[in-house]
């Protein structure tokens, strides 16, 4: 079994935290993993992505082939569409609906939503609003991970929740609690 995932967003939105949680859960479960990250200049507000590959078999390439990704998990709707050529025919997109506008020529939002909704398997939610409403504004990324957990298959929601506890443990009980809450909100919001 394998899951090839593209995580995308804008520098500073917290996609590497999502990758860290999934990576920790995979390592704990003894699943092979490769995760290519973006460091350096792009982190200053540019588009960022991470190729995350999970498999019970040996993984060679750090990069996912075009047409081979099982999932795109995105903190930003336009950034979800940027990696469309990498998505497989049965692939799933899980994305935030909230546009991050730090460029003057950001496209029309309705056109973006239309493009996303024209695809077969898309979960799109205003994760930042949901996080704010629940008084956990800094946990939008983990809420998105909760949504994605529904489709991850190779790792169970329980395994991911345990990993959240480990990853955030150094930041105190309250932070762990808020992130677990965010994860569950995301998980329960996907039918």
């Amino acid at each position: 079994m394998k899951k090839d995932i593209i995580l995308s967003g804008v520098g500073g939105q917290g996609i590497l935290t999502i990758a860290t949680i999934i990576g920790d859960a995979a390592a704990e479960a003894g699943i092979n993993l490769k995760q290519a990250e973006v460091h350096g200049m792009s982190q200053r507000g540019g588009d960022v992505q991470s190729n995350l590959r999970l498999s019970t078999e040996e993984i060679y390439s750090d990069l996912i082939k075009q047409g081979a990704a099982d999932m795109i998990i995105s903190m930003e709707p336009m950034e979800a569409l940027r990696y469309l050529p990498y998505l497989s025919s049965e692939g799933v997109i899980v994305t935030s609906s909230h546009p991050f506008k730090n460029i003057p020529n950001y496209p029309d939002e309705e056109a973006l939503y239309a493009a996303l909704n024209s695809l077969c398997s898309v979960s799109i939610l205003p994760i930042e609003d949901l996080a704010k409403q629940n008084n956990i504004p800094k946990c939008a990324n983990v809420l998105l991970l909760g949504m994605a957990a529904k489709y991850l298959e190779i790792l169970s929601p329980e395994q991911l929740r345990e990993s959240i506890k480990r990853v955030f443990s150094s930041k105190g009980e309250k932070v762990v609690e808020m992130n677990c809450q965010a994860f569950d909100i995301g998980l329960n919001s996907v039918k």
Partner: protein, 531 residues
Amino acid sequence: MISKRLLLGDEAIALGAVHAGISGVYAYPGTPSTEITEFIQSNAPEVRSRWCTNEKTAMEAALGMSYAGKRALVCMKHVGMNVAADAFVNSAITGVNGGLVVLAADDPSMHSSQNEQDSRFYGKFAMIPILEPSSQQEAYDMMPYAFSLSEQMRLPVLMRVVTRLAHSRAGVQVTTPIAQNALNPDNERTHWVLLPGNARRQYASLVEKQPQLDKSAETSPYNRLHTANNATMGVIACGIAYNYVMENEPLKRGISVLKVSQYPLPEKTIKEFAASVDTLLIAEDGQPVAEEQIRAMLGAEYNLRGRLNGALPRMGELTPDCVGAALGVEATTSFAASNGVVARPPALCQGCGHRDVYDALNKVAAEYADARIFGDIGCYTLGALPPFRAIDSCVDMGASITMAKGAADAGVHPAIAVIGDSTFTHSGMTGLLDAINDKANITVIISDNLTTAMTGGQDSAGTNKFEAICLGLGVEPEHLHVVTPLPKNMEQITQIIRDEIEYKGVSVIIPRRECIQTLNRKLRQKRAQEQ
């Protein structure tokens, strides 16, 4: 004891080096190599690991540690090799005492760089062994191997990685560390004093060692052949390219693979492999270093494919897709690129002091018919992009000051240099001395944010020393100014810039305000401690 850890390629290199018993790591930050030294700083207090001023000082200090009998690692990004080159090439002439490994992290596709030069050329140039891991596990395993090889051959060893390995994470089996070497300074002065008479003998000795280097590569555990049944096509897969080749299941397609991770290229093995197939594809990330040499080995008639004949793209990072295409694997894209997606270039952070510097510079520059602003390497290079579009050049570390000087010598006025604090100590100080000695008509802005920001906030070598450095080099006190780049000070800053442009000589203006990223990080840490 064996345990498995999830590590970035850079972290695997760092841990491998620590477990190989290094006593020091010497480096200047540079993407994608920075995390190696950072990992050692946070995980191995027994290893000397403070950042160096530039790659040349790093290389020389590491050579000094090797001279003293201990193992040392030097890390840099590929363009850092240009800075370290003098010491690097001559370290192959002196040879080493304690093991010395030079780690160069290349950046094909220029994710964070101004060229995609291939460091393997430097290894060949210096006539030393080169190692090129294909995976995080190999990166770890190769470190003790590299140090042993270095001590056995009494030569520095170059390890070359690329961005995709440096910044990708995977599980790595780690083993038991070995102890550091004891202090044992070399007594053989004729090896180390490179007067021409000694240098000639040392060079002859380097040439004599070449067959041993060849033999080591021919028998290296890291160069392996995978033979497919009745193969007519073969691939020579160098370093990380091996992964992109294997991702496309060559053996199932009847394609044999020779993995190459140790150089000099194993000529005998390659010739035998070439004779066993009709066509050879050379897959290597970076420049066609191996392809050119293999072309020379096999002759013009041999059906050789790679970056030079267009089978693979001439430039840019390899991908599993382009390697697949070269192996005849059909692409299976399901969705076309969305036409609603636009580029999102990086930008200076909101609240960053460089923004205020460029606002001021743009305001003053607009008052002149032909002001030219020479930029440098760092976050502030982003001042080239909208909304600032403020700089006219960015070439290499320190070139802002020296290019402004040359342009001023030619008659450009105003000629303004913008350089960051860390870049100034790396390579700007010597150029400033030139300008002062020649009384060049330039205005230098040292935009000081108290850190090496672009690479994530490492210590900057000159913090709290810039006024003293400038005065010591000979900047006149009345033409040295320190300002705080904030919108409320715009009037004052622009007036100082105007006045100093009109002064016919070298002026230095230091806008100083802490990087917003490091400042926020410190505030977060403080809050966490208070809780």
